[in-house]
Symmetry: C2
DNA sequence: TTGAAAGCGCTAACAT
DNA sequence: ATGTTAGCGCTTTCAA
């Protein structure tokens, strides 16, 4: 019952009257061990319930076989899928995952980076909070490869794997324009991060490409439900508030492009309460294609994000860096940005002037 | 540019012509170091960018300052919130988090337990896959405390912190009955786990308490969107399929209690397509109170789950065990189950016979 | 084929 | 107040 001490190589060695060394090599299936000895060692290890001590191993091998993941909020469904994909890919490649949640706090992020350095993880994937890059510089300087996920960080020249939000916004805006709508709004998260600015840029560029331009107040900002303490899940509330004002402003046939599907849902409710039928009198487009979106009434047109692909590509890129890290000088490839394409899923939340089928 | 070797205590020691030991004690703020020496050591550590090596420290101290979390699927919004809460609580108490995702595969779970033993984590929190307890026994036997989260595992007598699903189901069923409904259905996840069986039990018991009883086919099973590979998020699809059949069977005023809010949403759609108005002709109750639920049309009555509380209580319980683990024999308290109360949030998805306000 | 010795980076017990 | 020694559990020379 007493939590007895873990079995070590030494225990096996003394039990068999061998040296620790021989036991180590026998278990590692190296040569220079007689078949018989190997058999006895493995049997004894089994009998004693031997479990190798990863820390000790890592200490001498100078590799942790661990990746760090620094993420802002697992309740963001896109990030949740990212976590799964990353853990899975890392695991199949032999790496464990240390998870750090920042809740978009730069202090938490700094602590996370520091902690990861202390552990000496082999590499770090991060969805960074905006502003503040010194701690990431510190990581890099200590020789730990870093790959940014999904958010670009100005002033930090490292690898990035993410979503091509600009393309997503262009596709969404293009689609809306194709239905003949002329009054467009963009309801974006009130966060100073690259996905948001990219979407805004895509929105404006697409309009411009059609010889149109949006008034300054066509882009409205929706506060995040954030706050201190335990992470708050996404919430349609703030967009609902905004939606009331929008409902008053919007003429018939107006369409709002939302920064995420929760915002879209808040808009649905606001419009409905103002007697506006989404998909008929007014349009809404989501972003993220959350599983609930296809089942809303009307089904939401949204931009699907390649979460699993981003996670996998992120791990792959990171491990490339990890594996070439011990190389001779100059062997390092320059940092690159990989942007994976999202996909517009057209459903029924944008009115068709011809009343045609969706 | 070359990822130069990490600074160690030795580097500081030689630079200052001190012993490693003195440097160690100076940085740890122990006594028996002159004020002046301490100052010099800290300055030099700073200058050299010294970062303590946690692994080396853990190896000698025989504690990892790490907790393991074994979870089935981060895309389950309840679990996502659990992850945040656990990471946060662990962090404030000085522990890092190693995350293992099982995707409800017993093989993955076994591997996770093994990996955590190799790391020698101080304790493990797990949302277990059903069936198969040997790997958890193994963990326990090696002296690593284990706390189960949310799912009871028959045949394994360990601490559990979770939600009182039985109470939640009773409250929901009671509420439905109080509106005068007499035709009730339960649409449950097709998973052999304790939350599901507890909800079914609560459903039947409440009916019985009112002198009623449900026909055998009142409980219908909804398949999970599961599958191999990267975790699939919850999805209203399967419940939508079931809902079509239910819509045909259900008489006016029938109410379906869903196992989660995604199922409820699938039901909404199925009913609507059959010309049934949810909240008027027919009722739906959700479970989990997902953030989207309050914004559905009609707003979904659902059972709110205390995610953050479960996570915190789980960590607290685990750390109690961790801290008393080194104790003398017999000091261990018996394993206990802590079930936190959910809360029924009444909105407008169940018809009121009097047509009264909600 | 096996063993002895050294060392990864750190802390603790025991000198001095 | 500081240094020396030993050791956490493992792997890697290098000898035998």
């Amino acid at each position: 019952m007493s939590p007895r001490r873990r079995t070590t190589l030494r225990d096996i060695a003394t039990a068999l009257d061998l040296s620790v060394n021989t036991v180590s090599r026998a278990l590692a299936d190296k040569d220079a061990v007689s078949v018989e000895t190997r058999r006895r060692v493995k049997a004894e290890a089994e009998r004693l319930g031997y479990v190798p001590n990863t820390m000790a191993r890592s200490l001498v091998l100078q590799n942790a076989m661990t990746l760090g993941l620094v993420i802002t909020n697992p309740s963001n469904p896109f990030y949740a899928r990212l976590i799964s994909a990353i853990e899975e890919r890392g695991r199949t490649r032999g790496y464990s995952l240390m998870l750090m949640v920042t809740e978009d706090s730069i202090d938490n992020e700094r602590r996370a980076a520091e902690e990861l350095m202390r552990w000496g993880v082999d590499g770090v994937l991060a969805i960074p909070v905006q502003h503040g890059t010194e701690h990431w510089e510190g990581l890099r300087k200590s020789g730990i490869p870093l790959v940014l996920l999904n958010r670009h960080l100005p002033g930090l020249d490292v690898d990035l794997v993410g979503v091509d939000y600009y393309a997503g916004a262009r596709a969404a805006t293009e689609h809306v324009l194709s239905t003949g709508a002329t009054e467009l709004y963009l309801a974006e998260e009130n966060l100073d991060i690259s996905p948001v600015s990219e979407r805004i840029r895509g929105f404006h560029d697409t309009l411009a490409a059609h010889g149109l331009s949006a008034p300054d107040d066509a882009v409205v900002r929706v506060d995040s439900p954030g706050g201190g303490g335990v992470s708050v899940p996404f919430d349609p509330g703030p967009a609902y508030e905004i939606g009331a004002a929008l409902a008053r402003r919007a003429g018939p046939g107006a369409v709002v492009l939302a920064g995420n599907d929760y915002h879209a849902l808040g808009l649905y409710r606001a419009f409905t309460e103002h007697g506006l039928r989404v998909g008929v009198d007014v349009g809404v487009v989501g972003h993220g294609d959350h599983p609930f979106s296809a089942y809303l009434d009307p089904p939401l047109t949204s931009v699907r994000l390649p979460a699993a692909e981003v996670g996998q590509a992120g791990v792959d890129r990171l491990l490339e860096r990890v594996e070439t890290a011990g190389q001779a000088e100059g062997g390092e490839a320059a940092p690159a940005h990989t942007l994976l394409p999202p996909e517009l899923v057209v459903r029924a939340s944008v009115p068709r002037p011809d009343g045609g089928e969706h």
